[in-house]
């Protein structure tokens, strides 16, 4: 008993010290499940909660075949198989009850699986038991928890780079974690469906949590059902595990989900290159991109472009945008990568609420600033469908642009007039109103998959320079 007490005391001390230096592992790997609150399993209650909250995606029989399942990427889990991706247990063993509780409670970031905190803890526990009943053969096996190595020293992310190379992370996740490794386009899951590796720069989409502890847990458990292996038997040392976990965490880029986008006022000429230092003064905004609805659904053609980051600047005459997005492959010419900045044409009645469905019957036209690789092409038109702009209508206006592709990331500069004369009816931006803006991105390397963002509102920042007062 004495030794147990000592260990507990020590762990409190160590945890306290880590909190102080800002390196505390989060609770993800050891979900805060309190066994004392766990109710007696009640299959009827579990089934009722399942049918109410889960069956729409996961199917009445738990086969992952709910009404919306085919449109989802990643697809809802088939509980009858009993393979669970996010565990704290050894590769090939079932998840712990706490793991299931944690996934229900926290959801899976970057997927359609929300968190279910609105359900009572008791209901979530009933769901845990009910889910297990879909694959009794799997849950008969013992689940062996992985043991995170002792957090021995103060891991520096820069030392983790060597481990990133040594353990072959770049083969799938890419040299800079942009999901563009050489094997990224050939991965299939256990169900034979194409999947993509995680983009490690998008911390908001780490399914199992983005803290170093959660990341280290993934190294040890692997992600069952996918190509991500367990590194338990790989010879990875405890030191390397933590160094690599911190390195991967350092690849995450902060995301700014602004709903109002402040365009930064610049006096004089707008930037003409993507590297112009003046971009640094402009606010960054991130938007999620979702593939447009197709008969085949997202799952048949996993989305590759999941988000875009952009900055807006303007001067008296012009608007300038710097947009960057991760695309695993550079595609030019025949089947080019492309991007459109979408605006609402002036004096058009009716809103396009969701671009995922546009162009639907009777949909209003849109103002598209369209660029496609090779980067010399960019023009603007008012169109009723994408083909019109892709084949370049005669009324289109030339836009200034510059683009660069580097290791799985496009950076594109586009400039247009604030109040263009052509094309006729083009959107005009003024300082007095918010201007809705959205993006459409085509990935030429992914069967021309088209992903669109939601609308955000651009506000032209009032000039702060004394000369304008």
């Amino acid at each position: 008993m004495a030794s147990v007490v000592h260990r507990t005391t020590l762990s409190i001390l160590v945890t306290g010290a880590l909190v102080l230096i800002g390196l505390v592992p989060d609770s993800r790997a050891t979900p805060a499940a309190n066994a004392t609150h766990r109710p007696t399993p009640d299959p009827a209650a579990g089934q009722a909660a399942y049918q109410q909250s889960c069956a729409r995606c996961h199917g009445m029989q738990g086969k992952g075949d709910g009404v919306d399942a085919k449109r989802f990427y990643p697809r809802p889990r088939d509980f009858t198989v009993g393979t669970y991706k996010f565990r704290t247990t050894t590769s090939g063993t079932p998840p712990s009850d706490d793991d299931l509780f944690a996934t229900i409670t926290n959801g899976l970031p970057g997927t359609n699986m929300p968190d279910w905190r609105q359900l009572s803890e008791e209901t979530r526990w009933q769901l845990v038991d009910y889910l297990k009943s879909f694959a009794p053969q799997v849950f008969q096996q013992e689940s062996t928890p992985v043991t995170l190595p002792v957090f021995s020293s103060n891991p520096k992310a820069n030392t983790g780079r060597a481990a990133y190379d040594k353990y072959g992370c770049a083969a799938c996740h890419g040299k800079q974690g942009r999901a563009n490794g050489r094997s990224s386009a050939t991965l299939v899951d256990d169900w034979g469906m194409p999947i993509r590796p995680a983009n490690l720069t998008q911390g908001w989409a780490y399914r199992g949590g983005n803290s170093p502890t959660a990341i280290a847990t993934r190294f040890l458990t692997g992600i069952d059902g996918t190509g991500m292996p367990s590194y338990v038997e790989s010879g990875m040392t405890p030191e390397e595990t933590w160094q690599l976990a911190y390195y991967v965490a350092s690849l995450q880029e902060p995301a700014h989900w602004n709903m109002i986008v402040h365009a930064h006022r610049i006096d004089g000429e707008l930037p003409t290159t993507v590297d112009d230092p003046r971009w640094q003064a402009a606010e960054r905004t991130d938007v999620r991109l979702r593939n447009v609805v197709t008969p085949a659904g997202e799952w048949a053609n996993p989305p590759t472009v999941r988000a875009a980051t952009f900055q807006v600047v303007y001067n008296e005459e012009q608007l300038g945008l710097l947009v960057s997005w991760d695309d695993p492959s550079e595609s030019r010419n025949e089947s080019p990568d492309a991007l459109a900045v979408i605006l609402e044409p002036a004096s058009v009645k009716g809103d396009v609420v969701t671009l995922q469905a546009w162009p639907y019957a009777g949909a209003p036209p849109l103002d598209l600033c369209y660029w496609s690789a090779p980067s010399s092409t960019a023009y603007e038109g008012i169109v009723s469908n994408y083909e019109q702009i892709q084949t370049r209508p005669p009324s289109a206006a030339e836009l200034h642009n510059a683009a660069r592709f580097d290791d799985g990331r496009w950076r594109l500069l586009l400039r247009r007039s604030l109040t263009p004369h052509t094309p006729q009816g083009a959107a005009a931006l003024t300082a007095d109103v918010l201007t809705p803006m959205a993006f459409a991105v085509w990935d030429g390397g992914n069967h021309q998959a088209l992903a669109v963002s939601p609308w955000v509102d651009v506000a032209l920042e009032r000039a702060r320079h004394p000369a304008h007062h």
């Binding site: 072959g168 292996p229 590194y231």
Partner: protein
């Protein structure tokens, strides 16, 4: 109990000889299996009879089942494998590589797993000598092999590149482990299962199959489509031939002690 254990040790060299001789596939090893000096003397199994009840009563027989796998119809053109994305893989292959899924020469089918599916009376203590599954040049060697349940499988990486070994058995626990550099990992399968598939997600052309059996009576057809299952006890057996592309076929064979029977299978293009 100690008698039991010693009996198992007696059986081990026999099992090993069979595994090593025919388990690894390829024509050459099968020739070796056919050589009398590659087999234990016939008298040796007699000692097993003195052991207690757990000892197999019909183990270590003297019959053999040989055969040929024919292939009829147009032979599918093997898919070329593009390895240039990983220079480590490419370097070990001076000539272009094609898929090893379908290997047919002169109408004879290589890499079929042939085993006694029914009729074997055990138990047969698994050998302690491991079966080796090597990854070399981003290629599994052997592509098809067999192992006894409980016998160690040594998975080796001979490449200076990262492989993951993604095994998806149904009867045994699945695993997906990383080998980022030259190293070895040992796994065992406790339950029989034909076949266990191994896959490397990093190099999607890499696939291997392992037949897990409770006995040592299996073989893999060689370049000439032939196979030999040796040391079979007298009895009536269902012989199954399994091919990854062309499915399975079975035949029933009855052999007496010392007898050699020949079976022929013909697979067709699908």
């Amino acid at each position: 109990m100690s008698g039991d254990r010693s009996a198992r040790y007696w059986l081990t060299p026999l099992g090993c000889a069979v595994i090593i001789a025919i388990g690894c596939g390829g024509g050459k090893t099968q020739d070796a299996a056919a050589r009398p000096d590659a087999q234990p003397p016939m008298s040796q199994p007699v000692q097993l009879a003195e052991a207690p009840a757990a000892t197999p009563t019909t183990g270590g027989g003297s019959a053999s089942i040989k055969g040929i796998l024919h292939f009829s119809g147009p032979v599918p053109t093997p898919e070329p494998i593009a390895m240039e994305a990983d220079p480590v893989c490419q370097q070990k292959h001076p000539t272009p590589v094609v898929s090893d899924e379908v290997m047919v020469q002169n109408g004879l089918l290589k890499n079929a797993f042939v085993y006694l599916k029914e009729g074997v009376k055990g138990p047969f203590t698994p050998p302690t000598t491991p079966v080796v599954l090597d990854q070399n040049g981003c290629w599994y060697t052997p592509h098809i092999s067999g192992i006894q349940a409980g016998q160690p499988l040594e998975i080796t990486n001979s490449d200076q590149t990262m492989h993951n070994i993604n095994a998806k058995p149904k009867a045994n626990p699945p695993f997906n482990i990383a080998q980022a550099m030259p190293m070895k990992t040992t796994k065992t399968f406790s339950k029989p299962e034909v076949m266990v598939r191994f896959k490397c997600n990093v190099h999607p052309w890499m696939t291997a199959y392992l037949g897990v059996l409770e006995h040592p009576f299996f073989a893999v057809s060689g370049d000439d489509g032939s196979f030999t299952i040796a040391n079979v006890p007298a009895g009536t057996y269902t012989v199954e031939a399994w091919h990854e592309k062309f499915g399975t076929q079975t035949q029933t064979v009855t052999v007496g002690e010392g007898e050699a029977k020949t079976v022929e299978f013909t697979f067709q293009a699908q």
